[in-house]
Amino acid sequence: MSFVFLIFLPLLAALFIPLLFKKVGKIHTGWFVLIVPVILFIYYASLLPTTIAGGNLVSEFQWIPSLDIAFVAYIDGLSLLFTLLITGIGALVVLYSIFYLDKHREQLHNFYVYLLMFMTAMLGIVQSDHLITLYLFWELTSISSFLLIGYWYTRDRSRFGALKSMMITVFGGLMMLGGFVLLSIMGNTYSIRELIPQAPQLATHDFFIWALVLVLLGAFTKSAQFPFYIWLPDAMEAPTPVSAYLHSATMVKAGLYLVARLTPVFAISGTWMWLVAGVGLFTMFWGSFFALKQKDLKGILAFSTVSQLGLIMSLLGASAAGYHIDNIAETTFKYAGFAAIFHLINHAVFKGSLFMIAGIIDHETGTRDIRKLGGLMSLMPISFTVAMIGAFSMAGLPPFGGFLSKEMFLTAMLSLTEFDLFSMDVWGVLFPIVAWLGSVFTFIYSFYFVFHTFAGEHKPDQLPKPAHEAPIGMLISPVFLALLVIVIFFIPNIVGDWLVKPAVMAIQPFLYSSPGEVDVHVSAWHGFNTELFMTLGIFAVGGLMFWTLHKWQRSYDRFPDSVSLNALYDNLMFLSDTGANRFSKLYMTGFIRSYLVYMFSFVVIIVLGTLFLTEAFAYDVTNLAPIGFYEIVILIALIGSTLTILFSKSRLTAIIALGAVGYSVALFFVIFRAPDLALTQLVIETISVALFLLAFYHLPQISRKEERMRFRLGNAVIALGVGVTMTLVALSAHSQKFLPSISEFYKETVYSEAGGGNIVNVILVDYRGFDTLFEIAVLGIAGIGIITMIKLRLTKKEGQHENK
């Protein structure tokens, strides 16, 4: 089956959404939308056996064959895992949104059209094998994310957040495109599958490091890594289903996907390893540290997402070590890739449920401010349970899925201290330390999120609405996800075999030839080792710090807002905005003369420049027509009347002189054997002069009082320039003829082909009939314009501006 078309199924479904919303108002539009991800999920799940066996599927559809651009859907372990996340979480989020968004008050058609558009874009990213279509879908996610963040477009914060996310992710996307183009130049292909076997040759290329940095810029902006993460907290203005879907489970993971997908291409480089692992780990610490500063529930989750994405990113970076190790199965380096994918699944599951709970709290109490919340445990017991499961999994507590991947994360970070390339033997020791610190803060903010919301004192007077448990429909999705969190803890190896190992094979294709060779067995208990003591340390220190949180949380306020990354972004935006405005006002003067001056100057510069740079100027005195007496007389008349126009002070003189120029031109036509032209020119000139004289009565006298000498001198210089240019062009054009004229064809065939004697006429009505047709159209349009201007009047009404 050509499953490449399934990528477009959501987009196709989106076409019907506005219709369904308008016509079937009784049923919430979300129910129709829900069908799409469910169908897709079931279909893609049926492909699982192929990838579990280590196979892959390709489906192709030509898009622009001449440029070698095609939609190529490539399904292997990695893309299938992401595909299932997108459709699976997508289905749950749509289900949740049905109860979150009111069908009477919200513009559901907009919402679901954007959401389905996003789904197509996201499926496109993870399945595309072609770099250019990958980029296309990549930008489409930025656009749909922009639309979804700005969904409540009447709010200032929404629009601000939407623009910010767009500016940053599109900047990254463009950089990434540059990287892709460099990759394609180096490897002479746009296909990722064809690039991977060339990796060793690519690494020696001059462009390699540039491609690497540019691609990483794309991945880091999308996956909200330091210092680009600042868009993600502002993106929380989106409706909560969107935050759960785009800004935690799927879109922000596109950067991780890209890094994972291109690991085989770049991993040989030490720069790659340092950048991905280093930036990831620093982001993990930074995000978790600042999560505790937040007062908004979704703000905490946003920073937590930044931190967790950093964690996965650092694991992907660490997995690059596998390329420099012989016999990886016997070392601890094998864990990094597995842990990255495993934690990615865990994070999608628990963070999805946490976002939905934050949405429920917002929905049922009217606020997300954690200072106003508290004591909701008894009022919202189910929400509390779900939140606790999600948060404990995030904190790395057993018996939840997050515990397993967190342990493996620590193992992977510890293994880096043993790595002896790229100065890791000196600096590698930093990795476990930063990882440990980040984990401590992760532990604290997880508890902060749950217990400052659900435990403590209930403050009903501060809540806009009396708090109560959410409707059952809204709880289905988070409860389901919370159950998954627990299930994953008990069957980690099934998850590992089905989803993780096939994906790891895609990240490290040189190391493994089948998923079964990924020799990682997950177990909750693995004896007393360093990881276990680190985990216990996290629990002890984290618990202690959470206990004393109220004493030290205020110290966050000491970080000044004016030197933050956000302030940098605001200033950059402000400066570029005002700067661009000022710059364009500099030349957009509003005077038509300025624009004409620009145009004429550029014509002169470009034409003269081309003439002399390409040595096109030629001067040929052979083959000239003889100079006759009549020609000279007419020429004198022409120049005389032109001069009269230039110096006349009366408009009547100018108009008559213009007529004289026209008649001289007509006489030229007579002499140069163009009878049709001469006739037409005579008629037209007569009408023109008549028209001028008609309008003349209504027009003002020519006045040149306001034109100063300097002004006129400037005009004269430009005019002279244009005149000289035209003379040179005319001379060169006459002096060299490279191609035979088509006129010969016309002359020879006019009678045999078109059956006419007057060659000019036949050209106009037969050979070039469309020219004449459009000429008549222009004439007609001008006529309509003239009649409109003369006949029609805007009726001025009281208090209404005419020009609005």
Partner: protein, 115 residues
């Protein structure tokens, strides 16, 4: 002859541009008229001014004797279009003068706070 014509064309263009850069609306319109005259002559000259007989099929005239018909066809189209444009300009000038009371281009640049 072509050399002289080239100079004349340059002169026509120069006069046209000079007029178009001035502030008075009617001078601008006259300028566009001159510009189209210059363009027509340019087309004619570029094709070559030779040819002993008009491009109408006649007995006893060899193909090489006809004047070049292609520039003539182009000019014919151009004459009509330039007439349309000139008359449109004229009416536009007439109406805007009637409505706004000025033909000074500097005063016709919109309001001060245009953005």
């Amino acid at each position: 002859m072509e050399i002289i014509m080239s100079v004349a064309i340059g002169f026509l263009f120069m006069a046209a541009v000079y007029l178009m850069l001035s502030k008075s609306l009617i001078r601008i319109i006259i300028g566009t008229g001159l510009l189209s005259h210059g363009a027509h002559l340019l087309l004619l000259t570029m094709g070559g001014l030779g040819g002993n007989s008009p491009p109408v099929v006649a007995e006893g005239v060899s193909v090489s004797d006809y004047a070049d018909p292609l520039p003539q066809a182009l000019i014919l189209t151009a004459i009509v279009i330039s007439f349309a444009v000139t008359s449109f300009f004229l009416v536009l000038a007439y109406r805007s003068y009637q409505e706004l009371g000025t033909d000074n281009m500097d005063l016709l640049r919109g309001t001060e706070d245009y953005e």
